[in-house]
C-alpha cells in the first residue's frame, strides 16, 4: 500500500510472526498477529519499522538509548504533569513522514485502516494491562476540518475503538485556530500557541458519575507534547469534580 510492493510475498507469515513476537507479550500475540496480517503492509516495510524500544522515558515515552531507566530530563523539568503517561510506537523517520504526508496532506483516506491497525498494535504493546473508559482524539479546528474534509486522528481512533471495544467520545472542541504547529518553531512558542486552544465537552463524563475515569488521548505525532498536554490540562482543570486520569498514545514521536 505504501511503497507499491506486493503485500502477499512468500515468507510474509514468518515476518509477521517475528514482528508480533517482538512487539508484545505472548498473551497478546494472536491478536497482534492477526492485526498485522490483515494490515496492508509488505514485508520490507514491516522489516523497517522504526520501533521505539526500551529503555524509554516512563513519562513521555521518549527513547533513551544508553541512559539509565527513569524519567527523561524534559519531564523532570516539567514537574507535576496533567498527563500520566504518553507512549508512541514509532520514531518519526522518513517512512513515517511518507505515511503521514500521504494520509494527512494528500488525503488518501484509505490509509486510515492501516494507521488504525498500527495504533491498535501500539495499544496492545503499551496499554494492554490498563482499563480505559473513554477514548478521545485530538480535534481539529472547524475551519481546518472544512478545508481538509476529514480528521485523520479521528479516523484512526474510530478503528482503534472498534478493535478494543472502548467508546470513542467527542470530549474536546478546538476553539482556537492556531497556526500549523509544524510551522511553529521552538518549544516555548509551541506551548504558548496551544494554551487554552481546547474546550471540554463534559457531557460524556455524566455517565461515569463518581467513579475514576481513565481517558486515552490519541494523536498522530508527539513532538514536544504541547498539543497533548494542552488537551490533558483542559480535561483535568475544567471543573470536572470526580477523579480523572489521562494517558496518551501516538503513532509517531
Amino acid at each position: 500500500m505504501l511503497c507499491g510492493r506486493r503485500k502477499r510475498a512468500p515468507g510474509r507469515e514468518r515476518e509477521v510472526a517475528a514482528m508480533a513476537n517482538k512487539l508484545v507479550a505472548q498473551a497478546f500475540f494472536p491478536i497482534v498477529y492477526r492485526l498485522l496480517e490483515q494490515a496492508a503492509i509488505c514485508c520490507s516495510c514491516l522489516r523497517q519499522f522504526p520501533l521505539i524500544d526500551a529503555p524509554f522515558c516512563h513519562r513521555c515515552g521518549r527513547p533513551m538509548a544508553g541512559k539509565r531507566e527513569g524519567v527523561c530530563g524534559d519531564c523532570q523539568r516539567f514537574g507535576r504533569d496533567s498527563l500520566t503517561q504518553n507512549r508512541s510506537l514509532f520514531t518519526y523517520n522518513e517512512w513515517g513522514k511518507a505515511l503521514i504526508s500521504r494520509f494527512k496532506y494528500r488525503g488518501d483516506e484509505r490509509l486510515a485502516q492501516l494507521s488504525g491497525c498500527l495504533l491498535s498494535v501500539a495499544f496492545y504493546r503499551y496499554y494492554a494491562d490498563r482499563r480505559f473508559q473513554i477514548i478521545a482524539n485530538v480535534p481539529l479546528h472547524r475551519l481546518r476540518l472544512e478545508e481538509r474534509g476529514f480528521n485523520q486522528t479521528q479516523k484512526m481512533t474510530e478503528i482503534l475503538g472498534k478493535n478494543i471495544k472502548v467508546p470513542v467520545l467527542p470530549l474536546l472542541d478546538r476553539v482556537k485556530s492556531t497556526d500549523k504547529l509544524s510551522k511553529t518553531q521552538g518549544k516555548a512558542a509551541r506551548f504558548r500557541s496551544m494554551k487554552s486552544a481546547f474546550r471540554l465537552n463534559p457531557e460524556p463524563f455524566t455517565r461515569f458519575q463518581g467513579r475514576t475515569v481513565s481517558v486515552l488521548l490519541i494523536d498522530d505525532i508527539y513532538t514536544t507534547g504541547s498539543t497533548i498536554r494542552s488537551c490533558a490540562d483542559t480535561i483535568l482543570y475544567s471543573g470536572v469534580v470526580f477523579p480523572v486520569e489521562v494517558c496518551s498514545l501516538t503513532l509517531f514521536r
Binding site: R5, A9, R106, E109, R110, E146, E147, R148, G149, F150
Partner: protein, 618 residues
C-alpha cells in the same frame, strides 16, 4: 460551506434548470439577456448531487408548462431522488448504515447574501473576460484554481461572480469532481460514482466535513489533488485560435540531420497528416531504435506555422527533461516549456508544451495538435484515464499523433486495419519496420525452466542463466537482467553474484524507488557496471550500445506483449553490433511471449520485403 442552488428558468414556455453558487449573478444575467422567470427548487452543499438532479429535472421539464403544481412535483422528484441516492449509498457501503446522508433543502429559498451583493453587470462582465483569457484551455480543481489565481495575484472568493457569469454564457463548465448517477437494474438499483476528471469509478466513499454530508473521492488521480463530490472541477475551453499563417520564408526548424529514405517518407506522411484536414488521428508505428523523435520535426514545424500550440505528451519525467533542450535547439524561435510535477513552468504558456501524461489532465480543449509518445507505455497502458486526458486536451477539430513501437490492439484495429498482413502506409498510419541501421531486430530465445523462482531463491545451479550471462560479462557486453517484481531484484542479484563470483563486483540492481537509481544507471552507461538487474522501469528509453538482455520469469503477468517487445528492443542498438542476445527464461509459455515473438518476426519479415521491393514509394 458553499451551497449550490438549483433553479428552473422559464421563458416563453421553455424551461431549463441551472446551478449557481451565487444566485444574484444569475438574476442579473437573465435580466440582461432575456428576462425569464426564475423558480428556486432547493440547495445542497454537495455539487455532485445538485448536478445529478439538474440532469433529471432537465429531462422532466423539457416539454411542460410550469405551473405551481409542476413546480411542487419537481421539488418532490428532487427530494425523492436524493433520498434514493442516500439509501443506495448506505446500502453499497456494506453493513454499516450511512451516517450522513445526502442533503437537499428547499426551505430558506432566498438566502441572506442579497444585501451584501453590490456589483453591476458591467463590472462582472469585464472581470469575467479578464478571467477567461487567463484560464482558457485549462481544467482545474478548486484547489488548483485557487493556487493558479494566487500566482496571478487574484483572490478566489471575489471571482466567484465572474466564474458564474462565464458559466451562464456557456464559456465555462462547472462540474463536480465525482459525478453521481442512478442505474436501475432488474436485480438491484445502484448508485454510480465516477470521477469526472479521470473517468475512473474507483472511488473511496467517505463522510466529508467540507460539505457535511456523504461524499467520495477518486483514488486513481489522487496524486493530482483530491477530486471529490463537493469539489468543483472547472473547465474552460480555449477560444478558437486566430490562425495566423506565417510567411513561407520564415523557417522555424533548424535541424541539419539526415533521414534514411524510409524515415523521410514517414516524416513526410506525418507532415501531410497535419496539414490536411481529413483525419483526426494518425499512428507512427516504428520499431525500437528507428529514430522516432526526429520523424516529428516536419510535422511540428507544419503545425507551428499554422499558428497553433503543440502538446507533446510523454510518459516519464526523464524523457521530458531530455526532450526539452533538444527541441529548444531545433526550434530556436519558439517558446518551449516543460511541464511536470515539480516544474516551475507548470502554469505558463508556450508554443510547444512538453508534458508528462498526468499533467495533460489539466488542459482542456487547448491544442490543435497533440503528439503522444509511447502510447503503450506504463501510464497509458490499460489505463483509460490518460487516453481520456489526451482527447480532452485536443482543441475542437484538432489532431492527435501517436508514436509507438508496440501500439495496443485497439489502436491497431482503428488506425492500421484489422488484416493480418499489415500495410506499410495508409491514410491513418505509417509503419517503419526497420531500425535506422537497417539490420533486423534480434529474435528472442525462449527457454522453459521448471520451478525457476524456487531455484533462484535456493541458489540451485541454473546453467541456462549462468552461462550466457558469464559469456557476455567476459566479452564486456553490458547486460540487462529484467525481473518482474521488486523483491526479486535482490534475489536474482544474489544468485548471479554467487554463481559468477569473478564479476560479482560489476553487478548492481535497481528499482523505481531506489534512491541511487540515477547514479547506478549512469555507472552502467559508463561501463563501470557490467550487469544491471532491474524491474520494468528500464524497459524503454534507455539506449546502450552492444547490450544483451535476459528476462528472468518472462511468464509473469507484468510482462505483456508490448513490454516484452520493448525489452527485446534494448539489444543490438548500435551500428557495429546489430545483433545481441535476447533470452527469456520462464516456467511456462504465455500468450504474451508468443505474441511478442510473432510481432518481432513479422516486423523483420516486413523489413525484408521492403528491402526486396527497394523502397515503398507512395
Amino acid at each position: 460551506m458553499r451551497a449550490y442552488l438549483l433553479y428552473v428558468k422559464e421563458e416563453r414556455g421553455k424551461a431549463q434548470s441551472y446551478i449557481t453558487p451565487c444566485f444574484e449573478v444569475d438574476k442579473l444575467f437573465w435580466q440582461q439577456s432575456d428576462g425569464g422567470t426564475l423558480h428556486i427548487l432547493g440547495s445542497s452543499t454537495s455539487l455532485a448531487i445538485v448536478f445529478a438532479l439538474r440532469e433529471k429535472i432537465n429531462q422532466h421539464v423539457r416539454s411542460r408548462r410550469l405551473t405551481p403544481e409542476t413546480l411542487r412535483q419537481l421539488r418532490e422528484l428532487a427530494h425523492a431522488s436524493v433520498k434514493e441516492a442516500s439509501v443506495l449509498y448506505g446500502k453499497e457501503d456494506g453493513q454499516q448504515e450511512c451516517g450522513l446522508p445526502f442533503q437537499f433543502t428547499s426551505e430558506q429559498a432566498e438566502r441572506e447574501q442579497a444585501e451584501a451583493f453590490a456589483m453591476t453587470a458591467e463590472q462582472i462582465r469585464a472581470e469575467a473576460e479578464d478571467l477567461r483569457s487567463r484560464l482558457q484551455g485549462r481544467s482545474l480543481l478548486w484547489e488548483e484554481l485557487r493556487y493558479f489565481l494566487q500566482q496571478h495575484a487574484v483572490v478566489l472568493e471575489e471571482v466567484l461572480p465572474a466564474l458564474q457569469w462565464l458559466a451562464l454564457a456557456n464559456k465555462l463548465e462547472w462540474r463536480p469532481g465525482i459525478c453521481i448517477g442512478w442505474r436501475k437494474g432488474w436485480w438491484k438499483h445502484r448508485l454510480l460514482l465516477r470521477c469526472d476528471r479521470c473517468g475512473s469509478s474507483r472511488v473511496c466513499k467517505t463522510e466529508c466535513h467540507t460539505c457535511g454530508q456523504a461524499c467520495a473521492f477518486c483514488t486513481e488521480c489522487l496524486t493530482m489533488g483530491r477530486s471529490k463530490c463537493c469539489t468543483p472541477y472547472i473547465c474552460v475551453p480555449a477560444q478558437p485560435s486566430h490562425r495566423k499563417a506565417t510567411t513561407a520564408g520564415e523557417k522555424l526548424l533548424r535541424w541539419d540531420g539526415r533521414y534514411t529514405p524510409w524515415q523521410a517518407i514517414a516524416a513526410e506522411r506525418a507532415r501531410r497528416f497535419v496539414s490536411a484536414d481529413d483525419n483526426q488521428a494518425f499512428l507512427v508505428w516504428a520499431v525500437c531504435g528507428a529514430g522516432k523523435t526526429e520523424l516529428l520535426f516536419p510535422a511540428m514545424e507544419q503545425a507551428l506555422s499554422d499558428g497553433g500550440q503543440i502538446l507533446l505528451a510523454t510518459p516519464r519525467k526523464d524523457v521530458v527533461l531530455e526532450l526539452l533542450p533538444r527541441l529548444k535547439r531545433v526550434f530556436p524561435g519558439c517558446k518551449v516549456i516543460a511541464v511536470h510535477g515539480s516544474s516551475a513552468e507548470k502554469w505558463e504558456e508556450g508554443q510547444i508544451v512538453i508534458a508528462t501524461t498526468h499533467q495533460v489532465l489539466r488542459y482542456y480543449r487547448k491544442f490543435p495538435l497533440v503528439i503522444v509518445d509511447e502510447v503503450d507505455a506504463f501510464p497509458y497502458h490499460r489505463n483509460p484515464m490518460l487516453h481520456r486526458a489526451v482527447e480532452r486536451a485536443v482543441a475542437e477539430g484538432g489532431k492527435r499523433l501517436y508514436l509507438s513501437a508496440t501500439p495496443p490492439a485497439i489502436m491497431q484495429r482503428a488506425l492500421v486495419g484489422s488484416t493480418n498482413r499489415k500495410a506499410l502506409v495508409s491514410a491513418t498510419h505509417v509503419l517503419l519496420p526497420q531500425r535506422y541501421h537497417g539490420h533486423p531486430l534480434p529474435v528472442p530465445t525462449i527457454q522453459k525452466i521448471p520451478r525457476l523462482d524456487g531455484k533462484l531463491r535456493n541458489g540451485d545451479p541454473l546453467p541456462l542463466l549462468r552461462d550466457p550471462v558469464a559469456l557476455s560479462l567476459q566479452q564486456h557486453r553490458p547486460i540487462f537482467v529484467f525481473v518482474p517484481y521488486i523483491e526479486q531484484v535482490e534475489v536474482a542479484l544474489a544468485f548471479l553474484q554467487r554463481s559468477i563470483p569473478d564479476h560479482a563486483r560489476r553487478m548492481a540492481g535497481v528499482y523505481a524507488a531506489d534512491p541511487e537509481r540515477e547514479r547506478k544507471v549512469q555507472r552502467f552507461r559508463r561501463g563501470e557496471y557490467g550487469l544491471l538487474v532491474t524491474t520494468t522501469i528500464l524497459e524503454r528509453g534507455v539506449t546502450i550500445p552492444f547490450s544483451d538482455v535476459v528476462v528472468v520469469g518472462a511468464d509473469a503477468p507484468v510482462f505483456d506483449e508490448a513490454s516484452l517487445v520493448q525489452i527485446a528492443g534494448r539489444a543490438g542498438r548500435s551500428h557495429d553490433s546489430p545483433d545481441g542476445l535476447v533470452l527469456f527464461l520462464c516456467t511456462r509459455w504465455t500468450k504474451a511471449q508468443r505474441l511478442a515473438l510473432k510481432q518481432i518476426r513479422q516486423m523483420n519479415r516486413l523489413a525484408r520485403q521492403m528491402k526486396e521491393v527497394d523502397g515503398y514509394v507512395d
